[in-house]
Assembly symmetry: C2
């Protein structure tokens, strides 16, 4: 059995290794005008959940961490590439307390550093591949394709009046969940897992990814400002079509509906209105709906783990899932 | 022997097939907000030199066109991805007479359509690969890495006072020549060529690529405005560190040097000054220098072709090289 303490010890150890390797892998590359901004971006402290999940997935499929370490770093770079370009599209000033790339440098640098990180991601992925390269590259590439599609859908949502729950689910599956799914699939594929194990681990990653995004939507309104690291109610201010918003619009009665229609029309609300809208959400019970959806997707994710024979390896993935879902930030 | 007529017939035929396939390959993909702009970009009529070179290289290495067609399209998509992002960085309004993506749509769409084209490029490349995937993906990825480095160097040049000829050559090798090199390498690799043949064809592609870029620099001042499709002297107006400029600065005497220093200081010249600077270039003989360099790199490229046994296949590559170099647009 893997205790919480044991899990945390392993996570902290690997996170440090991941950080160290990410911090050094662009060193000595030229030109500096390209790799210095990329290194800044990669150095932005993250939870490194994706590479850690890749390691655990490979381990669950019978491999050592060492066999997939470069692939794990590659997925973190793929993720970081999406952040750089998303931040430009969202015109974001900061990410995790640090200036975004296009604010610290300029637009050209941010576009190019993103592109370059993606190129280095493929380079690192290849390091862990041999004759098995094709299916793994296909998984990684599918992830890149879907992330672009998901981001495009998300941009579409900004100008759409209403968004259906299935379309929302498609968007977060492509924009967020695909990346966690890819961690699991790539880890399992490089480990040489059977198709059944690859499929199960992919299913785990995908569903935990969907739960993770709905949790993100929930934290925007129910989270603790300090540990969340973003302003509470930011999604409301921006008029984002989140899980909560979609459910609220679905459940709204004659009394509350005009407030949501107004929010759509004005593409958001004033910060002063956040408590009022939070109250509306509470009255409509959409915070509980979100919580239920998170539980449902988490359970769906965990069911996949029955194929993993080794109890410890299964425990590690369960603990990671619980950390992802119970996180407050 | 391949006559000019026969070459042109083959080129026109394949160009049409390439155009047709590029025009259809994003159809029916969703979301439209992503793939419609990407399709617009891919449909922008180009000479399709890169995919054609990929086909010819594979043929020279003993393969049929059919075996590398998807890879050929992949390289055109990789090239088109770079154009989309370069146009943003250069704040270009038009390309080949068509509005650039960020002008026709918006910044976010242009970034994302570029990213997406790159993702589809990898998808198409994989279609032509089997157990041999790794080295081909490595070639393609190296190309992506170097294109980013080359573009970054090119941006650096904008704020540098002087650029040495070796640094200029490094920049164009990475930004331009690598892509033609990749066409040849990928074509030869998928064809299953021996390392010696792969190396020779790569060398052909690289050197013809360098010649191609110097030719581009030369056409900016010596070309025919109508067929060149750009304004003559545009590089001078923008103060670009071209082959001609670097050579001119190198050869300038006390009388002419201040004009170039002034151009550096002002980051370009006024359009009315173009004839004056063209005259300076002529006096310093840098148009001839460029022509000589083009010939030297072309000869270096062609020497590589001695490894190609089949005369017709060799002729096709020679004809393509001559077309690239003798082009007026």
């Amino acid at each position: 059995m893997i205790t919480e303490e044991k899990y945390k010890k392993l996570y902290n150890k690997e996170r440090q290794i991941i950080d160290t390797r990410l911090a050094s892998l662009l060193k000595n590359r030229k030109p500096e005008s390209l790799y210095e901004p990329s290194a800044y971006l990669l150095g932005n402290p993250g939870k490194r959940i994706r590479p850690f999940l890749t390691l655990l997935s490979a381990k669950a499929a019978g491999s050592s961490f060492g066999k997939v370490y470069n692939a794990a770093l590659a997925i973190e770079m793929l993720h970081t590439f999406t952040l750089a370009h998303d931040d430009i599209m969202d015109n974001a000033d900061k990410r995790r307390g640090h200036l975004t790339l296009h604010k610290k440098y300029d637009l050209s640098t941010a576009i190019l550093a993103g592109d370059s990180l993606l190129s280095i991601a493929y380079e690192y992925l290849l390091k862990d591949l041999g004759k098995d390269a094709k299916p793994v590259i296909a998984t990684f590439t599918r992830s890149l394709i879907e992330v672009c599609e998901g981001q495009s859908l998300d941009k579409e949502f900004e100008v759409m009046k209403t968004v259906s729950l299935p379309l929302y689910t498609e968007m977060i599956t492509k924009k967020t969940a695909i990346m966690l799914e890819t961690c699991c699939t790539v880890g399992a594929q490089i480990a040489g897992a059977s198709p059944a194990v690859v499929k199960a681990l992919s299913g785990f990653g995908k569903n935990i990814g969907i739960a993770f995004q709905i949790q993100d939507d929930l934290l925007d309104i129910a989270g603790d400002e300090k540990s969340f690291g973003k302003n509470i109610g930011g999604d409301l201010v921006e008029g984002k079509k989140t899980y909560l918003f979609i459910k609220a619009l679905e459940k709204a009665d004659a009394k509350s509906k005009p407030y949501f229609t107004c929010m759509i029309k004005n593409k958001g609300i004033a910060p002063a209105e956040i408590p009022f809208y939070k109250n509306l959400y509470q009255e409509l019970g959409v915070l509980e709906d979100a919580q239920k959806a998170i539980s449902a997707y988490t359970n769906k994710a965990l069911k996949n783990l029955t194929v993993i024979q080794d109890e410890d390896n299964r425990d590690l993935l369960i603990r990671l899932a619980n950390h992802l879902i119970k996180r407050t930030n």
